[in-house]
């Protein structure tokens, strides 16, 4: 977290967001079966609900056709315009909600996120920063997920980038899988050592708006999940590249629940399997055979 971040300001900021989200508890949720994305053993719904500021949101919600109650798994949205239909691998074992946050496709009626641009949209002010609404969208989606029937609300799992960690600090997750790339963890500091997007957006902003940088940096500090990690009681894995190991360790080290850092080998199949197996073990879900169908030559 930023060294000069005021703890009271931090708590007040997120408490206010929490109140705004809680006020939506009674608002309607519309759900329709998406036959195209359902199959013989799983069903996928398109779910529509309201986010803060009256913003209309969409999420995919997929789960097995039979059995339950299922472990609710929230997919924190990635950094890009497209959110995928939950994979067969996951929707056959969890009740998965994949949110399209404000600005992403399907949730872009009033606001379309720009890439690059989203990471700095609304800076420098903490009140105007677009990610305030995005985090609120995640919290709202989790509330909707937990309100679905046939889910076990005591076993909430979250996966995704460190936006998922922010959500886990503000909602009672039992399992948290944070995967690379990290976005908000020590963002201002890490941006200084890369020229790769999306972090380069921060450098672009700093270079072109130097007079606003200090305020922007303070705002970004509010979104550093490390600052809130003490409130994460979930069993946590932070999977990262070797280059992100230090930042991942700083996040994992502040989590109040059990935590570990998994440094990717760089072999995508092995890393994916290690992460999915960890999530299965943590949540108690059945192990996955993986998305790679047996071909008989392994």
């Amino acid at each position: 977290m930023s060294g000069n971040l005021d703890a009271q300001e931090l708590m007040s900021y997120w408490r206010t967001v929490g109140y705004e989200v809680s006020a939506l508890a009674g608002s309607g949720v519309e759900s329709e079966v998406l036959e195209r994305h359902s199959d013989e053993s799983t069903v996928t719904h398109g779910v529509r609900f309201e986010g803060i500021g009256g913003y209309p949101l969409f999420a995919y919600y997929s789960l097995p056709r039979e059995g339950g109650p299922f472990i609710p798994l929230f997919h924190a949205p990635g950094y890009g315009s497209v959110v995928g239909v939950p994979t067969v691998e996951r929707r056959s074992r969890y009740a998965v909600m994949a949110l399209c946050h404000r600005g992403q496709r399907h949730s872009d009626k009033f606001y379309r996120a720009a890439y690059p641009g989203l990471l700095t949209d609304g800076l420098p002010g903490a009140g105007s920063y677009v990610w305030r609404g995005v985090v609120a969208d995640c919290l709202r989606a989790i509330d909707v997920l937990l309100s679905r029937h046939n889910v076990d609300g005591q076993r909430l799992a979250i996966s995704g980038n460190d936006l998922g960690a922010l959500a886990a600090a503000l909602r009672p997750a039992k399992s948290l899988l944070v995967v690379t790339p990290l976005i908000f963890t020590r963002l201002a500091e890490r941006a200084g050592s890369t020229d790769a997007y999306p972090l380069q957006e921060i450098n672009d902003y700093r270079r072109t708006c130097p007079d606003r940088w200090e305020e922007a940096k303070s705002t970004l500090g509010l979104f550093d999940p490390s600052a809130l990690a003490g409130d994460i009681s979930a069993n946590t894995m932070v999977a990262c590249t070797a280059g992100e190991k230090e930042a991942a360790a700083s996040l994992a080290g502040r989590v109040s629940g059990e935590s570990e850092v998994y440094v990717n080998t760089g072999y995508g199949y092995l890393d994916h399997k290690a992460q999915e197996d960890w999530l299965s073990a943590s949540t108690g879900a059945p192990l996955s055979d993986g998305p790679f169908l047996p071909r008989g030559f392994s």
């Binding site: 315009s81 496709r105 993986g290 790679f292």
Partner: protein, 316 residues
């Protein structure tokens, strides 16, 4: 489909008898639309070393297509060019990294991508099966042309040496790399295709349950009676049927545990590639990353530099 050796896989893609005439006709229709290349400086994304521009050009059926263009700030003579073509769901990247390597670099956003979707916007999922029952209105017809015209855009810039233009991308970008190299065979100087998508498409759908190919499975569950029509359409678009035209030096990388673009189809398309200077990198224990996490990016950089002679930028 279960096979014992991915190298033994035989693609079921069949090149239609009128494949060449279909594409000649399609290219002719596109040629009637003037390219009208435009560049708008983007000071916010530019740095002391590179200049970045928002790009626009016109394409098939008159649609306006967007892209990003980045080049070194200081250079003498002409620059080598690098076309970067995007994946299926990802946004086209700002090609600043390629500009920093010394290339005039262009990153295209074919129709349906953000900034190019005001007219055509089938969404994701959606693009792969948009009008898939009919070869003429199929969504990838215009999309393929947008990629080809992105190459024309780059090659037409005064500062670009049109004898030194490379193409690269992964997944759908790998497919488009193969497409551009096939359809601009005398003009692409070097190509790198990663985990190529859109190869042996019907076979791929039966080899995986992962998206995007799962879109085909979903479509055929909804319209089983259209399987023949779908197969017929895809034969005109299957990258497997284009690549015998390739003559440039080319490298291809695949992951042997890739659930998105089955490795079987990567082997098959590689075998089909024309030309003699080609090399396949098959990575064990890699999925759709196809070696990107274990050093393949360096392989690409070295390969391109050896063929295109990029300029030095800053201290690089």
């Amino acid at each position: 489909m279960t096979i014992s050796d991915p190298k033994a896989f035989q693609s079921s893609a069949v090149k239609p008898a009128d494949f060449d005439s279909f594409w000649e006709d399609t290219l002719g229709r596109a040629a009637s639309v003037l390219l009208r290349p435009r560049l708008e400086p983007m000071p916010m994304r530019s740095t002391p070393e590179i200049e970045v521009f928002e790009a626009r050009y016109n394409s098939y059926r008159g649609l306006e297509i967007a892209g990003w263009y980045a080049r070194p700030r200081d250079f003498d003579g002409k620059l080598p060019g690098m076309l970067y073509v995007p994946g299926y769901v990802s946004e086209p990247k700002l090609p600043n990294d390629l500009a920093l390597q010394g290339y005039a670099s262009f990153s295209a956003a074919p129709r349906g991508k953000l900034r190019s979707n005001s007219v055509f916007n089938p969404g994701y999922p959606g693009l792969l099966v948009h009008n898939i029952h009919d070869r003429d209105p199929y969504g990838y017809r215009g999309f393929y042309l947008d990629a080809l015209r992105a190459f024309d855009f780059l090659a037409g810039l005064d500062e670009v040496d049109e004898t030194r233009i490379g193409v690269q991308g992964s997944s759908q970008g790998g497919a488009l790399t193969l497409l551009v190299s096939s359809m601009r065979p005398e003009r692409v100087a070097a190509a790198s295709a990663g985990a190529p998508y859109l190869c042996s498409m019907m076979d791929s759908a039966s080899l995986t349950r992962s998206y995007p190919y799962e879109e085909i499975n979903e479509y055929l569950r909804a319209y089983p009676e259209r399987e023949h029509a779908v197969r017929n359409t895809l034969n005109y678009y299957d990258i497997h049927n284009f690549v015998d035209r390739i003559v440039c030096p080319i490298i291809v990388n695949i992951g042997l545990r890739d659930d998105v673009c089955p490795p079987e189809t990567g082997y098959a398309v590689f075998d089909q590639i024309g030309g003699t200077e080609k090399k396949l990198y098959a990575y064990e224990n890699c999925a759709h990353d196809a070696g990107s996490g274990v050093g393949h990016a360096g392989v690409i950089d070295e390969f391109m530099a050896s063929h295109l002679a990029p300029v030095r930028v800053g201290g690089n």
